[in-house]
């Protein structure tokens, strides 16, 4: 039965239940302890050893149900001696369903149905399974019977053949859902991650949201780890000596140094104007995810004027928040100068040495006064200014872009056009440019 368990582990992996080799060994030990005889016991035992969180438990249950259907258990109990040898015709004529099911499985093994990678391979593989079972022989037999004139027998065989088609198809479907159900989606997500943010179509937006949310979660985890500095105390000698005076200089009460962690202050300013319209969605998504990652973050969005969007991001779900923000100030001509003015008006006193300012935008200001003086002030007054631009660097300074001039005042100015880049850069920013 080891083979079956190996296959099951492979199916689990394909269904996004992570199983490490060590866990696979545990699974074998678990099976050794409970045996295959009792289905629920086996299921529960494997579930507690293999599935490691609530979502994985759900996926595990589904996968288990598909994998250990009656037929694959039957194979285990009856052994494989009877299967495969019998002739396809005899099996159909005798109506031996169990033998047929076993024959399908055996043929599937030879045809490599378990190695199925993509859902689109279903058709060809089903065909190959049937070929392996001796479909050709069966067809010529039907042909021969028809020519001879024994219609009844030919019809029975033809019926059996149709049933066989269905069975083989269902079997391969099941294999596909076991081993290839997720690959298509994964492939699509990988492509989406590398696609330019500005060129992502309506139909992919839901998938993108899911991706960004996962990215935010990953970042939150990584970043949260770093924020907790170990507070292993060092002896505070001064205090200890002072306390020891009470006990005649014997230091009974120790005092430890403690380190207060300075919370970073982050201000994020996001451009949602017409020129970045396509990317604005995702810049806002990013803003939203950052908000989840970093505890103290002030979020602003602007086109011609700048508004605070903290409350919106806190109270609404990401889809609603984005729609509301875009409805309120989105898609208008940009004015970076004006936005900077507003930033200083609303938030001026709080822009200090502890603040990190992250600007998301293309730096296209419609030939309005870019207010470089304010930009200079911003960079002098704050800890650092980080600018993430969806446009490639070659476009910076072209046309109405002031990015090349703005970039001078930034500690970091980078292009981030795809989700993958976005994640990398944000990770880098969080790691290296924020106070800890």
């Amino acid at each position: 039965m080891h083979r079956t368990l190996e296959d099951f582990v492979r199916a689990l992996r394909a269904n996004e239940v992570q199983v490490s080799p060590a866990e696979a060994i545990d699974a074998h030990r678990a099976v050794a302890a409970v045996g295959f005889a009792e289905r629920t016991l086996l299921k529960d035992a494997l579930a507690v050893t293999l599935a490691k969180n609530a979502e994985e438990v759900t996926r595990f249950d589904a996968c288990f149900e598909t994998f250990f259907t009656r037929s694959s258990l039957a194979r285990g109990s009856t052994g494989q001696a009877s299967a495969g040898d019998a002739d396809l015709e005899t099996m159909i004529l005798s109506g031996d369903q169990a033998a047929l099911a076993e024959a399908i499985e055996a043929a599937a093994g030879r045809a490599g149905a378990g190695e199925i990678q993509l859902p689109t391979q279903r058709g060809p593989i089903a065909r190959r399974v049937l070929d392996e079972m001796g479909l050709r022989a069966l067809e010529s037999r039907i042909q021969a019977l028809r020519e001879v004139g024994s219609r009844a027998e030919a019809e029975r065989l033809a019926e059996g053949r149709a049933a066989l088609f269905r069975d083989a198809q269902t079997f391969v479907e099941r294999q596909a859902s076991l081993y290839a159900g997720q690959t298509g989606r994964r492939l699509r997500e990988e492509i989406l991650g590398r696609q330019a943010l500005s060129s992502i179509g309506e139909e992919d937006i839901a998938a993108m949201h899911a991706l960004v949310r996962r990215m935010a979660k990953r970042l939150a985890q990584r970043y949260a780890r770093r924020r907790h500095r170990a507070r292993v105390g060092k002896l505070d000698v001064r205090h200890t000596v002072r306390r020891s005076l009470a006990s005649d200089g014997v230091p009974f009460n120790l005092a430890w140094k403690s380190k207060t962690i300075e919370k970073p202050q982050i201000v994020v300013v996001c451009d949602v104007s017409r020129s970045v319209a396509a990317a604005a969605q995702f810049l806002l998504l990013l803003l939203y995810s950052l908000k989840e990652v970093v505890e103290r973050l002030d979020a602003f969005a602007f086109s011609d004027r700048l508004v605070g969007v903290n409350d919106l991001l806190d109270d609404e779900t990401v889809e609603v928040a984005i729609a509301l923000i875009l409805a309120r100030i989105g898609y208008r001509p940009t004015d970076y100068g004006r936005a900077l003015e507003d930033l200083f008006d609303h938030h001026g006193p709080r822009l200090d040495r502890r603040t990190t300012v992250i600007i998301l935008g293309d730096g296209r200001s419609n030939y309005a006064d870019p207010r470089l003086d304010l930009m200079r002030r911003l960079s002098e007054q704050t800890r650092s200014v980080i600018w993430l631009n969806p446009e490639p660097q070659t476009y910076w300074g072209q046309g109405d872009s002031k990015m090349d001039t703005y970039a001078r005042f930034c500690r970091v100015a980078k292009t981030c056009a795809t989700l993958v880049e976005l994640e990398r850069i944000i990770d880098e920013v969080l790691r290296t440019h924020l106070p800890r």
């Binding site: 678990a30 302890a33 507690v48 490691k52 609530a54 507070r231």
Partner: protein, 316 residues
């Protein structure tokens, strides 16, 4: 395999576990019992997850009662470190002893010819102050040294720091700890370990890999009725199914904190105290604060109480 062979008729089979746990007042689903069974046979810790109040800690308490072993509990919190969890040197005692011994030090060393031999004599007394009598065992060490085995409950592991989690790895996989001054302490009988988590943060893969994973979901009507019956025996059957049905329908709502088993049980107790025989809208409104813990939730549910009560209770 000690656990399964020597002291554990209670752990002999999944059915025996379900029965045994029911005997100590814990109504376990098959999966919970299987997890316990596997833990005993594979000697692995169980990581129990689920929303607050679903019976994670209770499971450990009842398992200890079932196995008749002492329960040693380690409550995790941010900043928990080795000295609180594993062991500590009794600093005060060490200091006191050095003060007392100081006076005896002079006479003992007075006949030493030179400094080197005085030093040698001091070394002869060895690591006096770093020995067993000065060791203060904390929960983890207690559990490992427990002579007859123990049930170790590491509660809310997700509240502790990453570093602490990493530190747990040695204990959880090998059931041993290294104390530099003394050496490696290995468990004679490995304790049965429960870790609970509320998912405040995701745990590391290394830790998860060393554990069996048990997710306790909110129970269905039938199971919950049995739990209430076990916990609040005084309640009448009709009221019980009515109140469980009410709670079940609340779980379908979009509330900030869904009522879990502990709230149901509390509510049942409250109703018994009030001598209630069946639910009526007034009574429900008056006692809703036992069930729901947020003002917004209460405000959302209150106007719909009648509607939930009107639903016919499912057949028991």
């Amino acid at each position: 395999m000690d656990l399964s062979s020597t002291q554990s008729a209670p752990l002999a089979s999944v059915e025996a576990i379900i029965e045994g746990l029911a005997g100590v007042g814990y109504i376990a689903s098959r999966r919970i019992a299987t997890a316990l069974y596997m833990a005993a046979h594979l000697q692995k810790p169980i990581l129990v997850e689920g929303v607050a109040g679903v019976g994670k800690t209770e499971l450990a308490l009842c398992a200890a009662a079932l196995l008749n072993l002492p329960l040693i509990r380690l409550q995790c919190y941010e900043g928990l470190d080795e000295s609180r969890a594993l062991y500590e040197w009794k600093y005060g005692k060490q200091l006191l002893y050095t003060q007392i011994l100081r006076d005896h030090m002079g006479p003992a060393l007075v006949d030493a010819p030179d400094l080197a031999s005085a030093m040698a004599r001091l070394h002869g007394t060895g690591d006096l102050f770093f020995s067993e009598p000065f060791l203060e065992p904390r929960p983890l060490l207690q559990a490992i040294r427990a002579p007859g085995g123990a049930v170790l409950l590491i509660d809310e592991i997700d509240k502790s720091d990453e570093a602490f989690e990493a530190f747990l790895l040695e204990i959880l996989s090998a059931f041993q700890v290294s104390i530099p001054e003394i050496g490696v302490v290995k468990a004679v009988i490995p304790p049965m370990v429960f870790l609970t988590s509320n998912n405040v943060r995701d745990l590391g893969d290394a830790l998860k890999r060393r554990c069996l994973h048990l997710h306790i979901p909110l129970p269905d009507q039938k199971l919950e009725e049995r739990i209430v019956a076990a916990r609040v025996p005084a309640i009448e059957a009709r009221l019980r199914s009515q109140l469980v049905a009410f709670v079940q329908s609340l779980r379908g709502l979009d509330l900030r904190k869904l009522p879990s088993i502990s709230e149901t049980v509390d509510w049942a107790r409250a109703l018994v105290l009030l001598h209630a025989r069946s639910l009526d809208p007034v009574l429900v409104r008056e006692t809703l604060n036992v069930l729901l813990k947020f003002e917004q939730d209460i405000a959302a549910v209150e106007p719909r109480v009648g509607e939930f009560l009107a639903q016919p209770p499912p057949p028991a």
